[in-house]
């Protein structure tokens, strides 16, 4: 067992464990924090795979921006306490079982593949910022531009949904 494998296993355990903790923890705040741990673990994987740019972006965008937004909302709503009143254990059990079965089915199908395909670890320059940047602004300029539509609509959405409507307020 070399060091790469060891790090891989370590990061994997960390990711899976914190993911499990995330769905298991009762307080949403804890969930958010656990999820951030997962993101860190995944970023670790990215580094292991020599995708440094993604590793950084993952931390900045996901852990930094998005999760903070989440945390912000949770805090705003004061949901840090126990919020799910009655738990339907049977439904949860069924959920876990069916999710697990799905995993089993897929994994058993995957395990049937007998060709061993290796993953290039720690080397290769594809994930470096230069190659990504060239690729993105040369070949992927179209999706890049079009994503703006996505953000525009998200923006409008935030306005339409988030803004308080005086007219409507007055009417009611």
């Amino acid at each position: 067992m070399n060091i790469t494998t060891l790090v891989f296993i370590l990061l994997s355990v960390m990711a899976v464990g914190s993911a499990a903790m995330m769905i298991a923890s009762k307080s949403p705040v804890h969930s958010v924090l656990w999820l951030i741990v997962v993101f860190f673990a995944i970023s670790g994987h990215y580094i292991l795979l020599n995708a440094q740019f993604l590793a950084i972006v993952n931390i900045i965008v996901y852990a930094g921006a998005i999760m903070v937004l989440f945390l912000f909302v949770v805090m705003l709503m004061n949901l840090n306490a126990e919020t799910e009143p009655i738990k339907n254990y049977r439904l949860q059990l069924i959920g876990i079982i069916s999710g697990g079965t799905l995993l089993l089915i897929i994994l058993s199908a995957i395990m049937k593949i007998d060709v061993e395909q290796l993953v290039e670890m720690k080397t290769g320059n594809e994930g470096l910022i230069k190659s990504l940047g060239l690729n993105l602004f040369k070949n992927y300029v179209l999706p890049f531009e079009i994503s703006s539509v996505l953000f525009l609509s998200a923006m409008i959405g935030a306005v339409v949904i988030g803004k308080k409507d005086e007219a409507v307020e007055n009417k009611k």
């Binding site: 999706p143 525009l152 409008i156 339409v160 409507d165 409507v168």
Partner: protein
């Protein structure tokens, strides 16, 4: 390309229109003008066969005649929708310009999913189509039903996005070419590789979700019911048809050569969709909800195109888009004018509003698939495609039997309008009915029958 650029730009224009024009109905006219421009530009593109501005898109989109024709059909249906229900859009909330902008963004997404050539564009297109819809669903902020619908739609939509991405990942992983281009997916011969199969399954599930095929349809009735009626009209027609178009395009180009290996999945989904859609619709009391279920049932029929995956199916999906959209837009347009959405609310409509009742009848007949209506032609082409496919013939028979059942719930409305008396003497239609609305209704009825009699008005373009 023209369509994508113009709709994106016009979306921004619409966004500002709300700020710069105080008159509430300006956005509507602006939207109609914009759409008109988009339609003309798109038509020009596919008749002259080159876009106005040339951008190197690295083959990420393909502007073939068929795809552009679909965009045209979708845009024209939207035009009808604007003309019929534009006034209702203004009434939903104070952000009329924004609503139109969102619809234009959706149309941009529609154009993308009609022409995508890589999985990336496909994914982005689907998201551009979906995210504005989440917003539109929740646009009645004070209406708890609207809230609920938006929440459900959003959560489940995001969930299905995750599933779709997993599918894309597996397809990518299973493709030895390591490419996202849908025509460069190497399937090999013989048994489908496991990774490709997994990718296909995940994508199938998420796309089934988007087109509300059973058993992934559960969001549909609730969301269609909860969303503002005027937006339900849009999302259950054009957007859904676009979803189908993407579905078929994706599966034909990436997995088409292994069609026989996954056809059985489509059969299962088709049958359960037909069953659940038609049977559940039977007992609905609310016309709006009934139409939601009926949209599931119609999706079952459209899935036949995926089952067949041949030329007839492609023609059929075009016809279906036009026929189903027109009829549903017409019905929802009438529904917006009704006070009571239950079937009993339609009692005796024929006496008070003969025109409304007549057009509603035409639309319902079209949905049932009675000859001389567009609905018949679309079903006819679907059946023809499925029969031509040559496999699983029984599926076709099941499909028509369910079509016969569908007559049951569609005709309940007709019966209510024509053969039953209204329980209260007062008018069942409260909202004012403008003459423009009436004219548009007549236009819809005429369009439905013209397509019903001469479907080549739509599909003939493919041969010209």
């Amino acid at each position: 390309m023209n369509a994508i650029i113009l709709t994106a730009i016009w979306g921004v224009v619409m966004m500002f229109s709300g700020v710069f024009f105080k008159n509430k109905s300006i956005p509507k006219y602006l939207a109609i003008i914009g759409l008109l421009i988009a339609v003309i530009a798109n038509t020009a593109e596919f008749s002259i066969a080159k876009p106005i501005v040339h951008i190197n898109i690295h083959d990420m989109l393909r502007f073939e005649k068929y795809n552009l024709l679909f965009i045209d059909v979708a845009f024209l249906c939207t035009m009808v929708y604007f003309l019929l229900s534009g006034t209702e859009i203004e009434k939903v909330g104070p952000h009329a310009g924004e609503y139109f902008a969102l619809i234009f963004f959706v149309l941009c997404g529609v154009s993308i999913v009609a022409t995508f050539n890589t999985l990336l564009m496909f994914f982005i297109g689907i998201e551009i189509m979906s995210i504005p819809l989440y917003i539109l669903t929740g646009s009645e902020k004070r209406n708890l039903k609207s809230n609920e619908a938006a929440l459900k739609y959003f959560l489940m939509g995001a969930f299905s996005t995750g599933i779709m991405l997993m599918g894309i990942a597996f397809v990518y992983g299973g493709n030895p070419n390591g490419s996202f281009f849908i025509d460069k997916i190497q399937l090999g011969s013989g048994q489908m590789p496991v990774m490709i199969a997994l990718g296909l399954l995940f994508m199938l599930v998420s796309l089934s979700f988007k087109v509300s095929a059973a058993p992934f349809h559960f969001w549909t009735p609730d969301v269609y019911d909860g969303a503002p009626t005027v937006f339900t009209s849009f999302m259950s027609t054009i957007v859904k048809a676009a979803g189908f178009f993407a579905f078929i395009r994706l599966f034909e180009h990436s997995f088409g050569t292994m069609h026989d290996q996954w056809q059985k999945l489509i059969v299962i989904i088709t049958v359960s969709t037909l069953l659940i859609g038609n049977v559940t619709a039977v007992f609905q009391q609310s016309v709006k909800r009934m139409l939601a279920y009926s949209s599931i049932a119609q999706a079952g029929f459209m899935l036949l195109a995926l089952f067949a995956l041949n030329d007839k199916a492609k023609e059929g999906i075009l016809l279906y888009t036009a026929a189903y959209s027109l009829a549903t837009i017409g019905l929802f347009g009438i529904l917006t004018k009704m006070e009571d959405f239950t079937i009993d609310g339609f009692n005796g409509l024929a006496k008070q509003q003969p025109l409304l009742a007549f057009v509603a009848t035409v639309c319902l007949l079209s949905l049932t698939g009675v000859p001389l209506t567009a609905g018949f032609q679309s079903k006819f082409f679907m059946l023809m495609a499925a029969v031509d496919n040559g496999h699983q013939f029984w599926l076709v028979i099941v499909a028509v039997l369910f079509a016969a059942i569908s007559a049951y719930y569609y005709f309940r409305v007709i019966q209510a309008m024509y053969f039953k008396e209204s329980s209260q003497p007062s008018v069942t239609v409260i909202h004012s009915i403008s003459s423009q609305f009436k004219i548009m209704l007549i236009v819809i009825a005429i369009l439905i029958s013209i397509i019903g009699i001469y479907p080549e008005i739509v599909i003939g373009w493919m041969y010209r």
